[in-house]
Each structure stands twice: as structure tokens, then as C-alpha cells.
Amino acid sequence: MTYVRPNFRHPELPVNALGYTRKNYEGALSTLCAGCGHDSISAAIVQACFEMSIEPHNVAKLSGIGCSSKTPTYFLGNSHGFNSVHGRMPSVATGANLANRDMIYVGVSGDGDSASIGMGQFTHAVRRNLNMMYVVENNGCYGLTKGQDSATADRGSTSKKGEPNPFEPIDLVSVALQLGATFVARSFSGDREQLVPLIKAAISHRGFAFIDVISPCVTFNNNPGSTKGYAYVRDHLAATGTVDYVPFKQEITTSYDPGQSKEVSLHDGSVVHLHKADPHLDLASRRSALRLIKDYKAKDQILTGLLFMDEDSQDLHDIVGTCKTPLRSLTETELCPGQNVLDKLNDSLR
């Protein structure tokens, strides 16, 4: 945790297309433990939004309760944030999104928040293909209540003070795939090169974009017996490939051999390049992703990277057919049918 952050920034900091510097994308000082993986994720979100030239105030950042859910305070200081109740961020995000479809919705949750108390809401946000980026900062433990195992803790994994966890973990990536999530990825907080392009692609995706980020808890779950600590994850990482995010209008110059790379278009015209390390991955097949996750797990490896994406995804607004104008911007004229209609109605009730 850094108590003091100087206000000084280099006068010639690079600016993005909006003329903003990275500083415009920062938030308050983090109060998480020094070295917390969550802070790296916040930094990756800052970098992605800066590079994408997103208007910070056009982003709504929402979370539940827990260490992870504190993090929206630490990025995008000019965005409205909502720290809701434990595990119930997806419903608040759904309502917010219904009210104004034009904003970007960033949900940050934790493994306790999403895999236990909020499992129901998580699954239903997936089902509805809510247009949002949903990041789970997954450390396999409850930090704010001092280190209890969470539902994503691997069987046999031990936290700092704990016995080996006797229960099977819930793998949120597999759950999301099975429920029909239209964008599914996994990453590691310590791998910014992989995480930043994934965040960019997730933000550009229309529909529910899920990223499970393994994010070690340095205080309670970074010990030798833990399978979510820095050392273990670094030693057991495997990647689907290298992901490049290419914004719309930027010329695509690189090219890879067929079979070794995959291009996926996002609805706004930008493109994701996947330079495959594993030729067995078919980005358009849930089954392929689920099988690979299992295969790697059997080899004691954690498969990261973009795992699945549906290019033709339709979000909740598309599905239910709401108007293009944000609902919150409609006025009396459009909403209130007036006394004439009531007169007819009254007549029909006599």
C-alpha cells in the first residue's frame, strides 16, 4: 500500500486521441496490501482505457463487497462508481445498463463475491448477455475476513493459516462457458502484456465479456501450499497464445501462418488477433475451450488467454428490442399517454 503518491507527473506525458494523459484514468490511492494482485489489474484497466481513448466519465464501474470490490475506487476517478451489496453487483449493473445503453459498464468482482454469495446473479448476467466487462479478481480466499478459503480455492490448496481445502473448486470460466457467455478469457494479474489486450477486447465486445484474473492475495494466500500464489501460478502458466487488440481504423500489418493465428472482429470494427500457441483451440467453440481447460488442468497447468468469443453476439438490449435512445433520456412526451387514453380506458371499465 502506498500512502503517498506525488502529484508531480512529467509535463510531457504521452497523450491519447482525446488529449488525455494516463493521469486522467487514475483513481484514488489504493488501500489494498502492498503487492496485491488487484492493484495490477486496476493498473491494467487504466492502461487499456487510456490506450483506447475512452472518455472516463462514459464508464460506469460497479462492484460488490470485498477486497476486489474496493478496486473501482482506484481507477477511473472521473467515472461514477457503485459499490453495491455482497455478490449482487450483476443486478445493479443490469439495471444501470437498461437505463442507459450508451455507456461502458465495467464490473469488478471477487471469487467470494461471484462464486459464492453472488453465484446466482453472476450466472443470470451471463444468461442475459448483459453488455459489460465482468472481471473476477480471483485469489481463492476471503481477504477482508482474514483468509478463509473461497469457492474457487483448489482442492488441496492451503491458505496461510489453513488446512488443505477438502472441496472441489468452482471454475468460473467453465461455468461462464457452459452458460453461454459470449466472451470468455482467463489471465493472471502478473501478466500485463496478456491482460491489457484482453481488457480492450472485452470492453469492445458487445455482450457479456468475462475475464477471470488470478490475482494472488499476498497476505493470506501467497504461501507455498497455495495454488493461487505468485510462485505457483508463474510456474504453472500456459497460454492459448498471444493476444493483440487492434482498434478500428488502425491498419493491420502483421500476418501469421494459417493455423497459427486467428482474427476475430468485434462489433465496433476493431479486431482481436490471437497468435496461437495451442493449435487445438477453436475460438468459436465452447467445447474446444472446455476441453482444453480440462486438459491443461490435468497437466497441472493453468490455461490463460482468450478462450472463447462469439462474433455475432447480441446483447440484452438487442434481445428484448429496446429503443436506441437510452431509456433514461425519454421524456414525458414519449412516456405519458395522456388523459385521452385514460378516457377510453375508463369507458371500457364501466
Binding site: E55, P56, H57, N58, A60, L62, P72, T73, G77, N78, S79, H80, G81, F82, N83, S84, V85, R88, P90, S91, V92, A93, T94, G95, A96, N97, L98, A99, N100, D102, M103, G120, Q121, T123, H124, R128, H317, V320, G321, T322, C323, K324, T325, L327, R328, L330, E332, E334, L335, C336, P337, G338, Q339, V341, L342, L345, N346, L349, R350
Partner: protein, 619 residues
């Protein structure tokens, strides 16, 4: 044998089997009397079941316009052998019992103090119709036709109703009218018509309408500008959102694009429903949910967040009998305390208590203004009786000049012109209500963090005791402001000096006012005050102050409104006498009259006397 004789003043009850299509026939009966200018009050008494169990429909006809339950049955129409023994016993001496005489009546059930009218409904149907479903459906229409003869209902009124009901499905009109005629002629040929009870055309309805409270509330949400509805199905509130959707499909579709300017989400549970409502309201849309008691329990955590984080939230609670699953299809007014203080910590919510469909409409529309002006949850508490039954009501009215009151929301221009720092929870105007901004309003100004944890005036997280206390005090100040905003109580004075007062709310109104009339006939003058909202206005204190005896009528076991009055107005509990009715059926005038009379007469209180001492007169 005694014969009940009454014109335009009786209670008739139908005993049917759930799921046999009796509802529309019974409804047609009630509506025919309404169209003859007679006030009617129909009530469905149905089981928590889809098919097969006994279900009843009770209609009170009252030329004087009494719409509450009276108690007692003058005529029973029994088409359900399963409940026959019970049904026969309910009939008042001298009353009438119409039954299907296709099978002979069990002699053990006979009573010699009521009049039996046997009509072979099943036999007639089997003779006339081949299709089994038709045999079942038309049986109900036939007894309505018979009642037309027995009670002197104008046949043309029924024929017109059939024509209205089947507009667009014209080929159904003739067989239905035929079925009415079958019953009508059978009754004419076999019985002396009309009976002792009968109807005569009057003009006692005026321009009133027959409508259920849930539909009225749904229309209120449409007129009030709600664009997001999130809900989870639960009896007896389900028809609120069903009706909202039905009318949105007619009134809220963009004719050009076919797009909807509304969104309805059937959530995975009540927790998600209220979360969506809160999220939408936070982002500037008017949103609401409808639920019942068990839903309130689940929504409580989020309601606390909405109270503390000050997010406009509109909730319609159609109460049923609790606790727990209670009696899902029976009525009560027992969510008062659960709603007033929903959530942990020091929490108070604005409550609205409508008594008629017109008020359901008005108060729902008003709830959106109140919620946004006060930046807090507003819960409208109706109940099954009002929500699911057709109730006579003033027609619905909307002032086309009316504008929505969106409360204190800063625009981009206002933020731009501000030189000082925006403070989300600053009490700028001294009324306890701060200013808010919608997400995305301004590039650099006006953003803030919404949270359920304590924060300072600038929405910055803090655990500082003083900041916390300042915030909690401001919320109390806002509560005081709310008293000026919510609907005022309705005072009805006895017309002469009275020491006795009755406080009531919601659907207890009709029975209470009728009971007061009964007491007036006995020489006991009673004033009444109908509470229409929480927080209570000063009028409540003044009313209690100016009466020696004050009754509080409510449909729950524990006197929840009374507790709230005692608590909020700091009234000596001994000053408020509870009248509690909680069996799940709507309270009757007879019940209230008896309770008041027992005390007033038993205490030998002569209400018209002046009291000695400091309080010479009451008013």
C-alpha cells in the same frame, strides 16, 4: 318460513371449482348489476392452487354504496359438491341456496330455515352440448341466466356484456346468449320470480369504474414514466407487472421502429429484481418492482442500501397473509413494520397506503416523483383484496400539464458553471436532500462513488464518527421534509362533537366507514382518520389528541400501524385501542362495529356528553 327480502342490498356468494372457467361468468354477473347502476363489490376467495380445489366469489350489492365486506350470505350459488356442507351452513336464515339438482341433494345437509332452488345445470348442459369443456363452461353461464330471472337482472344488460366480452370472437356470442336463456327460462318456469332479494335499476354508480388495484398501479407506473420494471413472480403482485407489460405493448412501442421504450426483466429472484431497480434509478431511469411479503424480506438488504446511499426506488408491495409463506392467496395488512424499517441499522422508508384503484394509480405515479424528490425508497402498500379484486373506483385522471418532478439532479451545464467542489451528500438547501448527478453527465465534474459504507459529504469513504452522525442526522432532517411531501391523511368528522376516533388505512376504509354509519344509527358519533402515508403528518397527533378514545383498525395480529404511531408520534399506547382482524378475509363492517360498540357502550361512554375537566369539548 322467514324469507330475506331486500332490493339492491344483499350478499351473494358463488361456490365453484378452481379452474373451471367460473371467474368470467361470476364477473359477468357482478358487472351486470354495476351496469344497472348498482354499486357492487366482488371478491375472489381462492385457494393457493391451480385446479380442482373449492373457490368462491362473493358479491356485495349495496345501493347505499357500501363496498366493504358486510358479513353473512343471503344467497349461495353452489356448483361445487366438495364444499356444499360448508356452503349451506353459511347462508343466513331466510336466505337462498341455488344448487345443481342434477343429483339429488344429500338430505342430511338440508336446513329448514333456508330456501332451496334446484336447477339441473349438468343435465341441461349434457342435453345441449356435446363437448365436455363446453358442458363445463356453459354450466356457469346457465346459472347466471337463472339469476337474471330470480333477481330481476335486465336480460339485455347481460346480452350486451356477452357481446362486449366476445368482441372479435363473434361466433361465441350466440351460444353464450343461448346458455343465458336456458337458465333464464328454466328459472322462470320452475320458480316464483323474482325472489325476496332482487335488483332494480338505479343511478347510484355515477361515472365510477370497476378495476383491480394491480392494473391501476401498473397504469400509474406507465403514466408516472417508469421505463424499467424488474420483478420476480409472486402472488398477489404478479398481475402488476403483467398489466404493465400489457399496456406497455399498447402504449409504449415506437410506431416507426417497433422498438420498446421500456424494459421488463423477470429477474432470477427478488434480490436481483430490487438490485436492477436500484441500478436503473442510480443511472437516471424511473424504475420499479412489485412483490409481496416474502419478497420484501429478500429485498431488505438492498432497501437499506438504497436508503443509505439515497437512491430513488419504487416498490409496490401487494400484501398477503404472513409470516413466512403464510396464506399466499389471502389478504392482510401485515407488512407495515417490515416495510417501514426494511433492512438492518437505523432505516426508515416512505410508505403509501392506497384504498382504491384510483389511489393505486395516483400513488404509484406519485411514488416516482416522491422517490426522486426525496432520493429514497418509496413503498406503496396495497393488499390482495385491493390488488386482485375488481373494486369500484373514481375514474382515472391525469393532468396533461403535469410534469415529472425529477428532484435535485445537476445537469452538465450546471456542473460546468460550478466553481466549488461538488458534494454528493452536502445539504445545500437545509432540507436534508442533497444534489445528485447521473453517471456520464460531465467529463470532469460531478462523478462520485455510491456505496453502502459510511462516507463524508463528498462521498469519500470514512469511518469518522462525526461524519457518520452528521449524515444520519441529515437523513432524519430529510424525513421531516418528507412529511410535507407525502399524501395527507383523510379526515372524516362525524358532523357532531365526538370523543371517539377511529384510525384506519388502505382497504380497511370501506368497512370502517360503514361501521361508523351503523354506530351513528345507534347514536354513537365517531370521527375517522384515514392515514395515507408514512411518515405521519401532524394531523395524526392532533387527531389522537382531540379524542378520548382512539381505535386503530388493521388487518394484522400485532397492531403494526398502532406500533408505528406509538413510536413515531410518542403516544401512550393505552390511548390507542387496536381492532385487529387477521384471518385472511377482508375485514367486515359488522366486526368493526361490534368491537367499537363493545368498548364505547361497555364503558358506558356517552359520546355526545361533554367531558368534565380541562377538556370541555373535543373540538
Amino acid at each position: 318460513m322467514k324469507k330475506i327480502k331486500a332490493v339492491n342490498d344483499f350478499v351473494i356468494k358463488f361456490a365453484n371449482v378452481n379452474g373451471t372457467g367460473s371467474a368470467s361468468a361470476n364477473n359477468m354477473f357482478a358487472k351486470s348489476l354495476f351496469r344497472m347502476g348498482l354499486p357492487v363489490s366482488p371478491k375472489n376467495i381462492f385457494p393457493s392452487n391451480i385446479q380442482g380445489l373449492p373457490t368462491w366469489y362473493e358479491v356485495r350489492v349495496s345501493e347505499k354504496g357500501y363496498l366493504g365486506r358486510r358479513g353473512g350470505i343471503d344467497m349461495m350459488v353452489c356448483v361445487n359438491p366438495q364444499s356444499m356442507a360448508k356452503d349451506i351452513n353459511e347462508v343466513e336464515p331466510g336466505g337462498y341456496f341455488l344448487y345443481d339438482s342434477s343429483k339429488p341433494l344429500d338430505l342430511r345437509l338440508m336446513r329448514n330455515d333456508i330456501h332451496f332452488i334446484g336447477i339441473p345445470l349438468k343435465d341441461i348442459c349434457q342435453r345441449e352440448y356435446k363437448d365436455p369443456r363446453q358442458q363445463q363452461l356453459f354450466r356457469n353461464v346457465i346459472y347466471v341466466g337463472a339469476l337474471a330471472a330470480l333477481l330481476d337482472i335486465e336480460f339485455q344488460v347481460l346480452a350486451d356484456l356477452v357481446a362486449d366480452q366476445f368482441r372479435g370472437k363473434e361466433k361465441l356470442i350466440t351460444p353464450n346468449v343461448h346458455a343465458l336463456e336456458l337458465g333464464f327460462h328454466y328459472a322462470r318456469e320452475h320458480f316464483t320470480c323474482p325472489l325476496g332479494i332482487r335488483v332494480e335499476r338505479r343511478d347510484a354508480v355515477g361515472d365510477q369504474i370497476l378495476l383491480d388495484g394491480n392494473t391501476a398501479a401498473a397504469l400509474g407506473a406507465i403514466y408516472g414514466g417508469a421505463t424499467v420494471a424488474a420483478w420476480y413472480p409472486i402472488t398477489p403482485s404478479t398481475s402488476v407487472v403483467d398489466a404493465y407489460e400489457k399496456y406497455c405493448k399498447r402504449l409504449r412501442i415506437d410506431p416507426g421502429s417497433g422498438h420498446k421504450n421500456y424494459a421488463i426483466v423477470q429477474a432470477e429472484d427478488e434480490l436481483a429484481a430490487i438490485g436492477m431497480v436500484i441500478g436503473a434509478a442510480w443511472n437516471g431511469a424511473r424504475s420499479f418492482t412489485a412483490t409481496s411479503g416474502p419478497g420484501i424480506s429478500l429485498m431488505s438488504e438492498f432497501l437499506g442500501l438504497a436508503y443509505f446511499a439515497e437512491i430513488p426506488t419504487v416498490l409496490i408491495d401487494v400484501q398477503r397473509a404472513g409470516p413466512s409463506t403464510g396464506m399466499p392467496t389471502r389478504t392482510q395488512q401485515s407488512d407495515i413494520l417490515a416495510c417501514a424499517h426494511a433492512s438492518h441499522g437505523d432505516t426508515k422508508h416512505v410508505l403509501l397506503f392506497p384504498a382504491t384503484p384510483k389511489e393505486c394509480f395516483d400513488m404509484t405515479a406519485e411514488a416516482f416523483d416522491l422517490a426522486e424528490v426525496l432520493q429514497t425508497p418509496v413503498i406503496m402498500l396495497t393488499d390482495l383484496d385491493l390488488g386482485m379484486n375488481d373494486n369500484m373506483s373514481e375514474p382515472l385522471r391525469w393532468d396533461d400539464k403535469r410534469h415529472y418532478r425529477r428532484g435535485k439532479v445537476l445537469t452538465e451545464e450546471q456542473l460546468e458553471s460550478m466553481s466549488e467542489r461538488f458534494g454528493r451528500y452536502l445539504d445545500v438547501d437545509g432540507d436534508g436532500i442533497p444534489y445528485r448527478t447521473y453517471p456520464g453527465t460531465h467529463a470532469t465534474k460531478g462523478s462520485f462513488f455510491t456505496r453502502g459504507t459510511s462516507r463524508d459529504e463528498y462521498a469519500v469513504y470514512t469511518e469518522d464518527s462525526e461524519a457518520y452522525e452528521r449524515n444520519m442526522q441529515r437523513l432524519l432532517l430529510k424525513w421531516e421534509t418528507a412529511k410535507q411531501e407525502v399524501p395527507a391523511p383523510e379526515l372524516i368528522e362525524a358532523g357532531q362533537s365526538s370523543r371517539v376516533g377511529v384510525i384506519h388505512f388502505g382497504t380497511s376504509r370501506d368497512a370502517t366507514l360503514e361501521a361508523i354509519d351503523m354506530l351513528a344509527d345507534e347514536g354513537v358519533a365517531v370521527d375517522s382518520l384515514r392515514i395515507r402515508a408514512f411518515p405521519f403528518s401532524q394531523v395524526v397527533d392532533a387527531f389522537i389528541d382531540s379524542h378520548d378514545i382512539v381505535f386503530v383498525v388493521e388487518q394484522n395480529r400485532d397492531g403494526q400501524l398502532r406500533s408505528l404511531i406509538v413510536n413515531e408520534c410518542e403516544i401512550d399506547p393505552k390511548r390507542l385501542l387496536p381492532i385487529l382482524h387477521y384471518g385472511g378475509m377482508p375485514v367486515t363492517a359488522r366486526f368493526i362495529r361490534e368491537k367499537i360498540a363493545a368498548v364505547v357502550k361497555g364503558d358506558n361512554v356517552t359520546p355526545l356528553h361533554k367531558k368534565t375537566g380541562s377538556k370541555e369539548t373535543n373540538r
